[in-house]
Amino acid sequence: MWVKAVEIIVSPILAFVIGLFFMGLARKITARIHWRYGPPITQPLIDVIKLFTQRSVSHGLLFDMGVILSLAGSIALVLFIPFGGICPLESSGGLLVILYLMLLIPLGLALSGGEGANPNISIGISRKLMLSLGYEVPFLLAVLAIMTHYHTISAVDVVRAQEGFRWALFSWPLVLPGLAYLMILPAMLGLRPFEVVQAPQEIASGPMVEYGGKYLALVQIEHALAVFVTIALFVDLFLGGASNPFFFFLKMCVIFLLGMFVNAVFPRFRIEQAVRFLWRWPTALAFVGLVFTLLAR
Amino acid sequence: MVEELKEELERTFKEVSARRAEEDRLVVTSGREQALAVLKFLRDKGLDHLALISCVDWPDDGELELVYILTSYLRGPEPTGEERVHVILKTRVPRDEPKFPTAVNIFRNAEPYEREIHEFFGVEFEGHPRPTHLILDRDYEVPPFRKDFDTRKYVEEFFDRVPFVEGEG
């Protein structure tokens, strides 16, 4: 029982640290690609500390509760994801709860943004929900392909079934959903080709326009956790999540760098182009993958 | 071709004097009453582009000079039509009560120029659809671009009387 309690406390903190490290790495790599020296790796941590010392503005109770709800949702989400050897709450429902809690996070931010009553926020939120509808279609097909292939809904069973280098990404029917998931990873992380939601030039950083000091800090933490969750889920489902956390972290770095290189050099899609792309190639791949897994049963 | 235009102008209008400044530039000075008639005449001759209306302040003659710069979009005036001609029409308006009929019904695009001149030189254009401010956001008792507007005095009156905050605190 004690091990479980320690795991429950440690894994969100670990997720937060890894998420911030990835964001710092992202800014450093983008800078280096742009021929710039770039900020120190710990810059996101400095930003969060600074944001906590700023006195921000609040537009009402829902404005605060929405941000708290979305961060609570992402912390709870981290508890359900198997990370290396430890998975704090894997006993209750596995992948279905993950898919459902992923529903909670954009809803929380959208509700709190709505109270901010700013035109940029409304445009940003409608783009965010449309983009998430866009990448949910291939994402669900990919996760369903995994579920039907391993005939389970618990992520730990999926990881256990991929022991000893029989990774899902390289076994035949699951290559296509794996590729589809890789193609929608930038959209889920909000990286450059799909950075339509917080487009600083067009809609003054979308839903984050009215967030000041600690609201922005909470949203940065939530973004860090979301980065961790999305990549950890991919590694768990398709790369057979390692037995100890260090190998797991290495696999996550590889995937994140992939997304980062695309992010540094790609211009930004319009929202229609983004959703049309998401509903064309990744969905086709995931759909064909699902059909094959059904036939191969 | 500038020559024919020059003779034709002097023939049709009596108080008009045209001078050929450079190879393709014609400077026309006309009296206040006929100015718009000359403008219309030049427009019908093919000079369909009113590039600019500007204003020059002659305090010692006690007059404001309105300068209309005309050219043509595609080609020179008929019948030859090969090279492009610039015509600069000048009229004089008295400084103390500067009134002048508007050119908007001849050239639609004259409207902003006239608003600007009204704002900076105080010339009243009768019949102007929207004589509001174009660039400035307040009124000055002496229009700013006039020579007798003493900027130094205005700055002292307006800006320097605002006290520094450190002194108060």
Binding site: I68, L144, K214 | -
Partner: protein, 618 residues
């Protein structure tokens, strides 16, 4: 507390409200509230009892029987509580309007009809109460004249087609088996041929399909719900369309029996698999059509069809988890859909009938409790953890995955995401955003409206956190329908294949929320700021400049609008136009001269004789 007394109280009560209404309106209001609460109490007292009761012999020798058990009890409690809450709601909602006696009379008539349908033990009384329910619903749908008459006409035409189909089914059963009691028919059906079972299923399926608005038969619902007065549309979409699902349960599992139902047809073409696909399509297409709506009530109406898709998906699967999920979703949908319609009614009451999503906004500042109700309703219908919608949708998803139907799960999930998008638009355009100038001094909804909204929101959250209570009842229903029971704990399902334990999820989200709240309080105290102190690129937003968002998902509309034309509706409209034209031509043969009619008769007789001789038909 036998059902006979219950039904008689309901019907007599309906008549009494009309008579009392004649005397004095306040007396009628008090009486109607008392009556509805009494009905709820009487139904509640019937918990656990089951049995049969004949109450009338003389109907051409067939006994009219009332049967009640846990399945009937669950539906009865849902019907009576929703009707009670909407009666309380309509006290202040209908104050200014005319013909109130008629409104309350038909409201109680619908409730009595529904109770009758649920409690009836044989098909004849079932049919009688079904007609009473349909017709009184028609009266209420076309209550406020104008476009409501057309909507009512469309509703009644389709429900009459459904009832006729049901009548044909009942007569065919009577012809083959001679008796119409449900248990007797069930025993006979066990030995019936699969063709005959398929025929009865389809015939009754049409009748119940129209009432519960499954995709091809759904076109009456959007007009009926948006034109009906709000308290009645809460009842209409909360419980009235559930009578269709009750009918499906009755037909599929009580009369035909599970084994026969699942074996009908083979493999991919089995009847229940097609019904599942129908449910999946009903769950997805209307949800995305709802995304395009600009009228709040039409958006909710399209979502009622979507949620019925989930229920059918749950029921038609034929597994114990599926039944539990489907029936639990019936109860949940009744609660949060009624809650949503009541909140729209409250907004409509305060803003003088404005339902257009493009011209409202910022009402959270003026009507906070109504916003809380709408928020809880929206979270419930999306199925966010900690609400009852989550538990029932969870059960449906688990059965779909464990029985290897990935594409059905995909359709269900996309339906959930569509619901999320359209309900955020619903909440954003009515409650969030800037408050327009004309609603600056809008007061709160009156107490008689806030009470039902508060009760329903509590129900949504309470059943979400403690789903064990309703799941115990549903377990009994599953057993009575012949499914094996589920291991249910107070916190959720403790079954072996990946248990859902709302305790874990609930504590995880709650503890994380408290920690985040503490971190939030640790930071500097934020400065509360009015709405117009907002970033607008260096200028100041004057009160009336930016007010509402129109066409909330316009890029998405441009992409999916051509695919979402309601082709079924156009087909029906073309059909009705064709019928009107042909009947126009037929009218010409009646020229009004008796001579012609005699000739017609003679010709017809000649035709009959010719058929007899040449073709020897009979």
């Amino acid at each position: 507390m036998s059902p006979e007394i219950l039904l008689s109280v309901a019907f007599v009560g309906a008549a009494l409200t009309y008579i009392l209404g004649r005397i004095s309106s306040s007396l009628r209001d008090v009486f109607s509230v008392l009556l509805s609460v009494a009905l709820v109490a009487m139904v509640a007292l019937m918990y656990g009892m089951s049995g049969e009761e004949e109450f009338y012999m003389g109907f051409l020798g067939l006994p009219l029987v009332l049967r009640y058990g846990t399945l009937q009890w669950l539906f009865a409690i849902a019907v009576s509580s929703i009707c009670a809450l909407s009666t309380v709601f309509s006290l202040s909602y209908m104050r200014g309007k005319e013909r109130l006696n008629f409104f309350y009379f038909s409201m109680f008539l619908v409730e009595a009809g529904m109770l009758g349908v649920v409690l009836s033990g044989d098909l004849v009384s079932f049919y009688i109460f079904w007609e009473v329910m349909s017709w009184s619903a028609f009266l209420l749908i076309s209550y406020n004249r104008g476009p409501a008459l057309a909507a009512g006409m469309k509703y009644i035409v389709m429900s009459v087609v459904g009832s006729v189909a049901m009548l044909v089914g009942i007569l065919s059963l009577y012809a083959t088996y001679g008796t119409l009691g449900i248990p007797e028919v069930a025993s006979h059906m066990a030995s019936a041929s699969s063709g005959y079972i398929l025929f009865t299923l389809i015939i009754f399926g049409i009748g119940f399909g129209i009432k519960s608005a499954i995709v091809p038969l759904h076109t009456w619902l959007p007009d009926a719900h948006s034109e009906a007065p709000s308290p009645f549309s809460a009842v209409l979409s909360g419980v009235l369309i559930k009578m269709g699902t009750y009918g499906f349960l009755l037909i599929m599992y009580v009369m035909v029996g599970i084994k026969a139902f699942l074996e009908l047809g083979s493999g991919l073409y089995s009847f229940h698999y097609i019904l599942c696909w129908l449910g999946a399509i009903t769950a997805v297409i209307p949800t995305f059509i709802a995304l395009l709506q600009n009228d709040a009530k039409r958006l909710l109406a399209w979502h009622s069809i979507g949620q019925i898709g989930y229920i059918i998906l749950g029921i038609a699967l034929g597994t114990s988890l599926g039944i539990a999920g489907g029936v639990f979703h019936i109860l949940n949908h009744a609660t949060f859909k009624a809650l949503l319609f009541l909140t729209v009614g409250a907004v409509e009451y305060r803003t003088g009938g404005v339902r257009d999503l493009n011209s409202l906004g910022g009402l959270i500042k003026r009507m906070p409790l109504t916003f809380v109700g709408a928020l809880v309703g929206a979270l419930g219908i999306i199925g966010v953890p900690l609400t009852n919608g989550f538990v029932s949708k969870w059960l449906i998803y688990k059965t779909l995955i464990l029985n290897r139907h990935p594409f059905l799960t995909f359709a269900a999930f996309i339906g959930t995401w569509g619901t999320l998008l359209s309900f955020y638009k619903f909440l954003h355009n009515i409650f969030l955003g800037q408050l327009p100038e004309r609603y600056k001094d809008l007061e709160k909804a009156p107490f008689s409206m806030q009470l039902p909204i508060a009760i329903l929101s509590l129900a949504v959250v309470f059943f979400g956190i403690l789903p064990g209570i309703p799941l115990k009842v549903i377990n009994k229903i599953g057993v009575s329908l012949g499914f094996e029971p589920l291991k249910v704990s107070i916190w959720g399902l403790a079954s072996e294949t990946g248990a859902l334990n709302t305790l874990n999820i609930f504590t995880a989200v709650l503890v994380a929320g408290v920690i985040v709240w503490l971190i939030f309080r640790a930071g500097m105290k934020p400065v509360p700021v009015p709405q117009d102190n907002n970033y607008a690129a260096g200028s100041y937003i004057p009160r009336d400049r930016y007010i509402y968002t129109a066409e909330f998902y316009s890029p998405l509309f441009r992409m999916i609008r051509p695919y979402l034309r309601d082709v079924v509706d156009e087909f029906y409209m073309a059909l009705s136009k064709g019928v009107r034209r042909t009947s126009d031509k037929l009218r010409r043969i009646y020229v009004g001269d008796v001579g012609y009619y005699v000739i017609y008769i003679i010709l017809f007789l000649a035709l009959l004789i010719a058929l007899k001789i040449w073709l020897k038909l009979w």
